[in-house]
């Protein structure tokens, strides 16, 4: 039961990070590797402020921190003309030091005894089971985020961002600053990722400087799993599919660990394989098609001969 509820909670919370990845990879069409840095940035800031007694302010500042990280990456990509992948790596790498700085040089921080957004709501709804309250909080955050994103991506600015990922030249021809759109979108993407980090640390009542390692692959895997269910149709469906993908991913992991198919430390390897295979599917499909065409033409040829 705890595993069932726990995976649902984690799936919903990490879903917010998946939204961020979805925005950069699918909507903007830019590989952004800032993720691991911005996730941890949000995490450490949220933990630090919560440990000082301000859990909500911690979440808010985490969002701002993530947005700043994304804007820096965007600036490096567009104004400094650095390759998107390199720009992301630079920000991520630089953030590693900044994150340690935020933590005062130590690599972890416990929030035991400090209030978190979860404990606050648990206190308010003391008659309800704690695990249920956590799910309610996670669902509330998920719904609010999706609604805001939905409205945003139907606005002028949101439309321009979507078009930037689709045909940047046309956006520029519509008198819209393409660089500005990329920077804005990366800011939003990383704000969501940092929001996720900020929530996760308060959820676990613990912050670790290495929490972000491998998070990008988790996000990508979730995006891809979600697309298995929903395809790639509209933006709204895309957002919902992020959460579905994230939850399913958590259950796969939970089942894998429970059944002891492989030790827990192999998790990242398995995730990487899942993502690699899923991304290779179109290539594999077309290779198979060529093969079958060749075979049938060879058959036809021998008949004619």
């Amino acid at each position: 039961m705890t595993l069932l509820l726990g995976s649902l909670q984690l799936g919903l919370l990490y879903g917010i990070m998946v939204l961020g990845i979805y925005i950069s990879f699918r909507i903007l069409n830019i590989p952004d590797l800032t993720t691991e840095g911005s996730f941890t940035f949000g995490l450490v800031i949220s933990a630090l402020i919560a440990s000082k007694g301000h859990p909500f302010l911690g979440i808010l500042l985490a969002v701002a921190a993530g947005a700043a990280a994304g804007i820096i990456t965007g600036f490096l990509q567009t104004k400094c003309k650095i390759h998107p992948v390199v720009a992301g790596i630079l920000t991520m790498s630089g953030l590693y030091s900044i994150n340690l700085l935020v933590m005062g040089g130590s690599s972890n921080l416990t929030l035991l005894g400090s209030d978190t957004v979860f404990s606050v709501f648990e206190g308010m709804l003391s008659s309800v089971d704690k695990e249920i309250v956590r799910i309610i909080v996670a669902i509330a955050v998920a719904v609010i985020t999706v609604v805001i994103l939905f409205v945003f991506f139907k606005s002028h600015l949101g439309l321009a961002i979507r078009a930037t990922g689709d045909n940047a030249e046309m956006v520029s021809a519509s008198s819209i600053n393409v660089d500005g759109m990329k920077i804005t979108a990366l800011g939003i993407s990383n704000a969501l990722i940092a929001l996720c980090g900020g929530l996760i640390t308060q959820y676990q009542s613990f912050a670790d400087i290495n929490s972000g390692v491998g998070i990008l692959v988790v996000g990508l895997a979730s995006v891809i799993i979600g697309e298995l269910f929903f395809g790639r149709r509209s933006v709204v469906l895309g957002f919902i599919s992020c959460f579905v993908g994230s939850i399913v991913y958590r259950y796969i992991i939970a089942i894998a660990i429970k059944s002891e198919w492989f030790p827990a430390y192999m998790l990242k390897f398995v995730s990487a394989v899942i993502v690699a295979v899923a991304l290779a599917v179109p290539a594999i499909k077309s290779a198979l098609k060529v093969l079958s065409i060749r075979q049938s033409s060879m058959k036809g040829g021998s008949k004619n001969a």
Binding site: S155, A160, A173
Partner: protein, 264 residues
């Protein structure tokens, strides 16, 4: 309306590959002028458009649109007053956005609203009316993704996109070249109607000499980055395509057949 003064551009300047794409071009268009541009492949026609749109900054010369010096203005700022169509129907639209979303994007050109829904009731009504005027049934497919339309349909939508907020200058770069003859004619008719109805100042590149001679009110010919012929409407009316070719080969003193092959 448009004034290009002494515009020059050398690509790969200072290398053995240096190439003079624009050579001291002077061109002045009055409001409502519709000029067709001829010239062989590589003559510098698209480069001229690129210069006007700000894809690069000129080495020399100035570009003035409606009294405003745009020589050093950024591309997207210039786009506020310039509409442009390309040969490739894919280039002007976002394939994963719907027709109405594409239109909404270009409809926002010029104003600086960021928030608020991009496609409201009022916009939808306007888009529907404008699309209906083309008689292609596009008004009933406004929620269709742009990528699912045919090249001709896309080009018509792009035409509407670049004129829905009236530009000061419309640039057409062989915008019917990728279409079948019937569709090309239809798109050309729609183009002429839009230009006429709105008295748009227009430059149109084409390789079709006979169509160039009857469209608009002036024809220029580019060669190696220079304007070598500039023919007014009155002159044009008395000329045939052969006259034009003769005039061109006199200028160039090149072999007549060769040119006909290149330009015909």
């Amino acid at each position: 309306m448009l004034k290009i003064e002494n515009a020059s551009k050398v690509f790969a300047k200072g290398t053995p590959n240096a190439h003079t794409a624009l050579n001291k071009i002077n061109l002045t268009l009055a409001k409502g002028d519709f000029v067709t541009i001829l010239g062989s492949n590589g003559a510098g026609k698209s480069t001229l458009f690129n210069a006007v749109c700000g894809n690069f900054i000129l080495d020399e010369g100035r570009i003035i649109l409606d009294g405003r010096d745009m020589t050093f203005m950024s591309e997207h700022r210039r786009a506020r007053s310039i509409g442009r169509l390309f040969q490739d129907p894919m280039k002007g639209t976002a394939p994963n956005l719907t027709i109405e979303e594409n239109l909404a994007l270009s409809y926002s050109r010029g104003h600086h609203k960021y928030f608020g829904p991009a496609v409201g009731k009022k916009e939808r009504q306007l888009f529907r009316e404008r699309l209906a005027s083309f008689d292609m049934g596009l008004e009933d497919r406004m929620q269709t993704k742009m990528g699912l339309l045919s090249g001709g349909q896309r080009q018509v939508v792009t035409l509407l996109m670049s004129t829905i907020v009236l530009p000061k200058l419309l640039l057409l770069d062989e915008h019917t070249a990728a279409l079948d003859p019937a569709t090309a004619e239809k798109v050309m008719n729609i183009t002429e109607k839009i230009v006429r109805d709105n008295n748009l100042t227009t430059l149109m590149i084409t390789h079709n000499m006979s169509s160039a001679m009857i469209t608009g009110n002036r024809t220029i010919m580019l060669d190696s980055g220079e304007i070598i012929l500039d023919i007014s409407k009155e002159e044009r009316e008395k000329m045939t395509v052969d006259d034009l070719l003769k005039k061109y080969s006199e200028k160039k003193q090149k072999q007549f057949d060769n040119d006909r092959m290149l330009l015909g």
